[in-house]
Amino acid sequence: MIIAKPKPIEEIIDLVKDLKSVLVAGCDGCVTVCEAGGMKEAQVLASALRMYFRQQGKDTKVEETSLTRQCDRPYIAQLDDKIEKYDAVVSLACGAGVQFLAERFTKKPIFPGVNTCFIGVTEEKGEWTERCQACGDCILATTGGICPIARCSKRMSNGPCGGSSSGKCEISKETACGWHLIYERLKELGQLDRFEKPNDPKNWATSRDGGPRKIIKEVSQA
């Protein structure tokens, strides 16, 4: 899923402090699972903003809602008849959701309430880690199911580099060396022969380097 992190409240206050009415819009998708932008977080943020405005002696109206998904038109259309009531929306969806709202409600400022961070997994309650960089050309079949683009700090195709120490990356003792993991996994799979074959330069055209991406589903011939 897409992992996000709530923005500091001060940053959000700075965006909305002069407004008369604000809608905090959560998203029931990924950001709910990673506890950054679901209904619960929308309620918490809205309460905090109401408290702020009260302390400032302002009667700014703050309301909250949450949409099934902010990356699908039928769901964001649910705001069509309410949006006029608000001066702006703080969206707690990922960057895709924020932009999709902005595209639909062209006259309303839509502010991001979270920082969208990465595609990752839940390690344990309250801890998420990165797994995928959406390069558009998956090589996991050759790397023991561990992605060197997402898990190596230098996205090396032929790692590990000389900075790998006790299974940790040179950038931090908290970060596992992706290539150490790949090596251990290939060993377990009996595929160490893969390890010595140089991997050719990667085609990054399917990644963000190729410009904004688009997929059109091919019609099945079956």
């Binding site: 230098k154 195709s157 032929n158 000389g162 299974g167």
Partner: protein, 314 residues
């Protein structure tokens, strides 16, 4: 014998090691400013005592006068530079352009590196590139030289002639993959290898045995990396702070065992002893002396190790 050194280049360093002599290289770190004279001063200190001079490429991710520009200066002084290139700062377009630029000035040695992560340097907020890694940079230079083609497939009328080097760290983890990783770089086309600074002689010899057992020393020239300790403080710093460095306690004890004003001398002595010992290790074909901000000591180390005068190549 299948050796990467059947590809001959105009490199003097290659000729010396191909002829069976020990190669000797040292390095010159360019300044953090535009003063090119500093490069020349450093090159003058070491030039007559080595076969080629490595020029670091924004080492430890700190911005410095460019490796290519410094190499051109060194070349114009009549010495032979080794262009170090990291894949951190430029993509395949920028790197191939610089390789062509280097070749146009008669630079015939390259050391292909991935480079330290930018979080170590003076611009930790920079984006990194890593379009290629060191192994792929080796492949790229080899393709440009042997096939006269760019990575795009474009055929060049005049191709760069590069003696291709890479680094190896026998002391990084996991130790068991360090020989296979070298094998991979040699399979990609590396012709000479400069190792990480050696302090743990036993571990280096164990690695070297793995290299020799697989015949890798016959495919590429292995140059042992040497960095003399300047002081006890430096020894401790290298042991505790520098990633991938293996400094045994015995080295610390030896430095601690002499008065402060004699530590530099002891460091040089230790370095010379290590070179003498490594000359006898099968597969070691040369020495890469990295006297960090201590270039003036290189002549003493080279002479003391019986590696002077350097062979003349016509």
């Amino acid at each position: 014998m299948s050796t990467n050194n059947t590809s001959k280049t105009p490199s003097k360093l290659q000729k010396i090691m191909d002829a069976g002599d020990f190669g000797v290289t040292s390095e010159c770190g360019p300044p953090r400013g535009a003063d090119g004279k500093i490069v020349e001063e450093k090159a003058n200190l070491i030039g007559d005592y080595v076969d080629a001079i490595n020029v670091t490429d924004n080492q430890t991710a700190v911005v410095r006068l460019s490796s290519l520009a410094a190499c051109i200066r060194i070349k114009q002084m009549g010495y032979e530079p080794i262009l170090q290139m990291v894949t951190r700062d430029r993509n395949r377009i920028g790197m191939q352009a610089d390789i062509l630029g280097a070749a146009s000035f008669g630079i015939h040695n390259m050391l292909c590196l991935t480079g330290d992560h930018q979080s170590f340097g003076d611009h930790p907020n920079a984006a990194n590139v890593f379009d290629l890694d060191s192994t792929q940079l080796i492949q790229t230079v080899k393709m440009m030289r042997d096939e006269k083609k760019l990575l795009s497939g474009f055929e060049m009328k005049v191709a760069p002639e590069m003696f291709i080097g890479c680094a190896a760290n026998p002391f990084a983890d996991p130790f068991e993959i360090r020989v296979s990783r070298l094998a991979k770089k040699i399979a990609a086309g590396a012709q000479f290898i400069q190792t990480q600074c050696i302090y743990n002689m036993d571990k280096f010899k164990e690695w070297m045995k793995g290299v020799v057992d697989r015949g890798l020393h016959e495919k590429a020239h292995i140059m042992a990396g040497m960095t003399p300790m300047k002081s006890l403080g430096m020894a401790k710093y290298m042991k505790n702070k520098v990633p991938g460095m293996d400094v045994p306690e015995s080295v610390i004890e030896r430095m601690a065992g002499v008065p402060k004003d004699k530590q530099a001398e002891e460091g040089i002595k230790m370095c010379i002893e290590q070179i003498q010992e490594l000359k006898e290790v099968e597969g070691v074909r040369g020495f890469h002396i990295m006297a960090i901000e201590w270039e003036e000591k290189v002549p003493e180390i080279v002479k003391g190790s019986g590696l002077y005068p350097r062979p003349k190549i016509d």
